[in-house]
Amino acid sequence: MTRAPDLALHNIGLTYRQPRSGEDVTALRDITARFAAGSFTALVGPSGCGKSSLLRLLAGLLPPTQGDMSAVTQSDIGFVFQEPTLLAWRSVFDNVALPLKIANRKSGFSRAEIDTRVIEALTWVGLEARAKALPRELSGGMKMRVSLARALAKRPPILLMDEPFAALDELTRFRLDDDLRTIWQQQKPTIIFVTHSVTEAAYLAERALVMREGALQSEVVIERPKNSQGNFRAAPEFHAACAALGEALAAPPARAS
């Protein structure tokens, strides 16, 4: 995996015109942040606070209306959406292979290499046995794993995730959280993970950025016990992080509009 440079945002703002009312809406304002290569950041905030917009902006799916950001090549990005967003007519294997096949025009992956990468990605998410299945034959959690495998198959140095596990039951979510931690520890991509769940942010990330009303409100660094192999969810550091995040979220917005 090639190492990505740090991602930097400077005074980023995003304003768009509502199609119906014609009013200007400010989705993001004055965001300055830095995401170091190989770091794991959670973006936390209530619904509609602009965290998904920020993620789309980082992915180059939306241009900012103000500010500067470091240029990102889209081929460096793996994006996992809130929905599995699989193509219903393609098998699990073919869904995961699709971005590689499309990129093939430029980067010239051989068929064997695509096969290797797809099987590898499916093995990471524990679905190598279901490669031939169609999406509709899978459970919600499995579909999300396929979606994750599709993002991982490119071996992207940057992984952007937009509430990927929000629609799943808690047990499945815990398992996928663990899988994601493992993948991050093994491969060290830069991960930016959007969630509205305080506990998920505290469990996964090294630090959390709290967003309110389109602005960055505060930053919470999550300490993990050193050399502990136990369940982090039972550790006092986890509860401290949850409490700190809960407090940051409950605080009044730093700036009124």
Binding site: L61, Q74, F81, T85, L134, R136
Partner: protein, 260 residues
């Protein structure tokens, strides 16, 4: 077992109706040029088998050609429309005009322009006008029905416009397009018959021409025989396209999902 019986139900109803028809005609002694019994129609079908099959072939050929061009042009125009909003805005009113103007009224013009030398070509064009529109609108709707997030997936993968079309939009549009082909298939046959009626001469000798001819001669049994073949042709077309739809969609589309 029960399901099999239910499938045979329409057939049973048909046989019963034909029997009732046969009996009624014999009891009331209606003249054969008003309402021939099914047995007489069967005899007419057998006696004129070679002629009728020739006519069936003529009509089938026009229908299939018109259908083929309707699918090709409908799909091509749909792809252009969904890629270039300006072209759609410029052309759509004229497409609608072509659709809403009764084809019977346009047919004489087309027969004059094209039909002098190539009657068949004129008939195909007339049938194509009738069949073309549902294919276009269904394909446009299908191509536009793709989830925005799937487009994001393609954007992030760096897909070119034709990769987006090939991997995403065309497969996503298949259900709507296949619905379009079912409607267009039926309309192509209607268009072919209308075209033959309007052409009205012996230059084209399809099933519709046989119907006119039999009507003029008061050979009502032959008329019914040609009519029965037309219906059979329509049914065959419809089920062929339904079969195609099933073959293409059954594995992944929700409308064919099995319970459990």
């Amino acid at each position: 077992m029960r399901a099999a019986l239910l499938r045979l139900l329409p057939l049973g109803v048909g046989v019963a109706m034909l029997g009732l028809w046969e009996i009624c005609v014999h009891l009331t002694q209606l003249p054969i040029f008003v309402l021939p019994p099914p047995s007489a129609i069967g005899t007419a079908l057998v006696d004129n088998f070679a002629t009728l099959m020739g006519s069936l072939w003529v009509t089938l050929r026009i229908t299939v050609l018109a259908f083929f061009w309707a699918v090709v042009s409908g799909l091509a125009l749909a792809i252009i429309f969904t890629r270039a909003r300006l072209i759609e805005l410029a052309l759509y009113p004229y497409v609608v005009t072509l659709q809403v103007t009764p084809v019977v009224a346009i047919a004489p013009l087309i027969l004059i322009w094209v039909g002098f030398d190539h009657v068949d070509r004129a008939l195909v064009i007339i049938a194509w006008i009738v069949a073309f529109f549902p294919m276009l609108t269904n394909a446009v709707q299908g191509l536009r029905s793709t989830e925005p997030q799937l487009h994001d997936v393609m954007t992030l993968a760096g897909a070119s416009w034709w990769q987006r079309l090939y991997y995403l939009e065309l497969p996503a549009a298949l259900p709507a397009m296949l619905t379009g082909t079912k409607i267009s298939g039926g309309l192509a046959l209607i268009g072919a018959v209308v075209a033959e009626f309007v052409a009205g001469s012996g230059a084209s000798t399809g099933l519709a021409w046989r119907i006119i001819e039999a009507g003029n001669r008061l050979e009502i049994a032959s008329l019914f025989a040609a009519l029965a073949l037309l219906s059979a042709l329509g049914i065959a077309l419809f089920y062929a396209l339904t079969l195609l739809e099933w073959l293409v969609l059954r594995r992944w589309h929700d409308s064919f999902a099995k319970s459990g």
